[in-house]
């Protein structure tokens, strides 16, 4: 028993402050090409200003705030904070709290419910290297979901094809309006 306790304490001492640098943190994943293709579209536009204006308008349509723009690199960074509440999740957690209360304990499961999400989006809009008059647009999106106690629940990159498709559909419409308004 005492030996086991000694090992436990020693492990805590040695491992307590170990830094966690994951292996292959900057190695290209095998899915790179697939992800790149769902994040990228090439669109025809009369000028770089037209497509950048349409891109900013579509971000505003989606209720993002523009954080930074670096025009020579075609980089637009935007973000927004939205509600991440889910009625289904809340119902489940409510019943979990109820079961805990019946069992004589208090587990406060409701405090782990999703509260809000911080979404960061980068759009890179650059003249196509392959074709004149076309612009390559690539989007990357990430989000952090916090619980009711402001603890981080989820850190993730959005890889959902439908989300990207929807943004590109909106961008095409925005570009159409932008060119028509000139």
């Amino acid at each position: 028993m005492s030996r086991a306790l000694s090992w436990l304490l020693l492990t805590a001492i040695l491992g307590g402050c170990a830094t966690e640098i994951p292996d292959a943190a900057l190695r290209l994943p095998e899915s790179t090409l697939e992800v790149r293709s769902l994040q990228t579209r090439t669109l025809a536009a009369p000028s770089e200003i037209d497509i950048l204006t349409a891109t900013i308008a579509v971000l505003q349509d989606m209720e993002f705030n523009i954080d930074r723009i670096e025009k020579p690199l075609g980089v637009i960074t935007a973000s927004k904070v939205t509600d991440a509440d889910s009625a289904n999740e809340k119902t489940g957690l409510f019943f979990l709290d109820l079961l805990c209360a019946i069992g004589g304990g208090g587990c406060d499961a409701m405090s782990t419910a999703q509260d809000d999400q911080h979404i960061t989006l980068t759009m890179v809009v650059l003249p196509s290297l392959a074709r004149d008059g076309e612009y390559t647009t690539r989007i990357t999106i990430q989000r952090v979901i916090y619980d009711k106690m402001d603890r981080i629940l989820v850190l993730e990159r959005i890889d959902d094809a439908q989300t990207y498709q929807q943004i590109f559909d909106n961008l095409r419409k925005s570009l159409f309006i932008q060119v028509g308004e000139k």
Partner: protein, 138 residues
Amino acid sequence: MSRLLRLLPLLMLLLLASCATTPANVAGAGTQLETRQIQTREYDTLDKPMTMRSVVATLQDLGFTIDQADAELGTITATRLHDHTMRMTVAVVQKGMQRIAVRANARIGENSVTDAATYQDFFVALDKAMFLTLHKVD
């Protein structure tokens, strides 16, 4: 067991002291030259905009979003949220009359990434992006 109990205060002290850090680790660890060598790769090109375009594409391939970019100074800072928060700054600088140097530094949470293999992986990814950019592949 009683011997262990006598040692317990000492062990607790070790446990607490093992996490102690200097108040402000501003200068970082490691030698300047060694760190630079690990974090830098030079390319036989003078095309800084194309190099920066490749860096942005590489960072996006690796799942980062761009926090800040400055074409004139050649710096790009990006963040990746995936289980952990990883932050990178990449600087693109002209070296002499024929080469461009790309220097990257990364942090994961509170820790600096110091191992050469991780930076090697980044530059392998950048090599691919540079190849595609120079061959005019979108």
